[in-house]
């Protein structure tokens, strides 16, 4: 694994914004998207990272089984009132879409820092912006990056499971909005109809005991 310094593309801010990464600069003016350097990996290193990722996913699911089998939800500070629904949901194995593993890697050891599986951000830059950067800078090089195809493929798998349209909730921040907009893009490429909605705009209609959107 090697780090290379490189000159950022001219006008990179507008370039990455066109790929959906509008949150490219922090409030203090420093770059969040920093293309003054890139990392080069060997195929063997990527193989190790990919294998570790699969193993962590397997272990995370095993941990979920263990917590429920051994009745340890309370130790996880899960309210008792939610336990039955969590168990029901877990056992029904609803389809999952994506998660983000934060790994530390020094070229030798791989260490898990965090597993963020609740619609994590960093998706736009990982799936789209990095790919377009490579096309601009090293079009003949390979990249461990096929998130886009995998998301579209997963949405196709989910077509029989989801009622249309599919709603994408966001909390009002631009970063979240662009993340769900990209997810909508991949879902629509797979054949879904999508609608974005702010979480606080989701309504509850007492008379029919149902959630409603802004059309109601």
């Amino acid at each position: 694994m090697r780090r290379h310094n490189i000159r950022p593309r001219s006008g990179w801010q507008a370039t990455v914004a066109r790929t959906g990464l509008t949150c490219h600069t922090l409030a203090d003016g420093t770059a969040y998207w920093d293309e003054s350097a890139y990392w080069e990996f060997t195929s063997a290193e990527i193989d190790r990272l990919e294998a570790a990722t699969a193993e962590i996913q397997r272990l995370a699911l095993a941990a979920g089984d263990h917590i429920l089998d051994q009745n340890r939800l309370g130790e996880m500070k899960i309210p008792a009132a939610a336990a039955a629904r969590i168990r029901e949901t877990w056992n029904s194995e609803p389809p999952a879409l994506y998660g983000r593993l934060d790994l530390a890697y020094d070229g030798r050891q791989i260490k898990l820092l965090e597993y963020n599986a609740d619609t994590p951000t960093a998706l736009v830059e990982a799936a789209v912006t990095q790919w377009y950067w490579l096309e601009d800078c090293f079009p003949k090089a390979d990249q461990f990056n096929s998130l886009h195809e995998k998301l579209v493929a997963k949405w196709k798998d989910l077509l029989p499971y989801l009622k249309q349209p599919v709603y994408f909730g966001h909390d009002g921040s631009e970063e979240d909005f662009m993340t769900i907009s990209y997810l909508r893009d991949t879902a629509e490429q797979a054949g879904h109809r999508t609608i974005p909605i702010a979480m606080h705009a989701i309504g509850w209609e007492d008379a029919h005991s149902r959630f409603v959107d802004l059309q109601r």
Binding site: C23, V128, F144, H200
Partner: protein
């Protein structure tokens, strides 16, 4: 090759044209009956009639005690209540 063959983005690219910088398009503040910002928890646990309510949009300093100018209350179409999901403005609004 492990990289995607192509990454077509149409919806995302269109929406990106209408955004500038990493701004928050809408804020929501919990305010007291006089319109001063109070902790979000007050709107979540207070009984009706206490005066605590959410204001969407508007302008303020964004701190507890600041007055919110303008903005609007939660959409209140008949028979439908909103605002039960999501969290208020201020703090770390972005995802992780």
């Amino acid at each position: 090759m492990r990289k995607s063959r192509e990454v077509p983005i149409s919806l995302l690219a269109t929406l990106a044209l209408f955004t500038t910088g990493c701004r928050t398009p809408e804020t929501r503040n919990c305010v007291d009956a006089q319109g001063h910002i109070v902790p979000d928890i007050d709107c979540q646990v207070s009984a009706p009639g206490t005066g605590y309510h959410y204001v969407y949009g508007g302008s303020s300093g964004g701190h507890i005690g600041d007055f919110v100018y303008g903005g609007s209350s939660t959409p209140s179409d008949a028979g439908v209540s909103r605002g039960g999901f999501g969290h208020g403005g201020g703090g770390d609004a972005g995802g992780e």
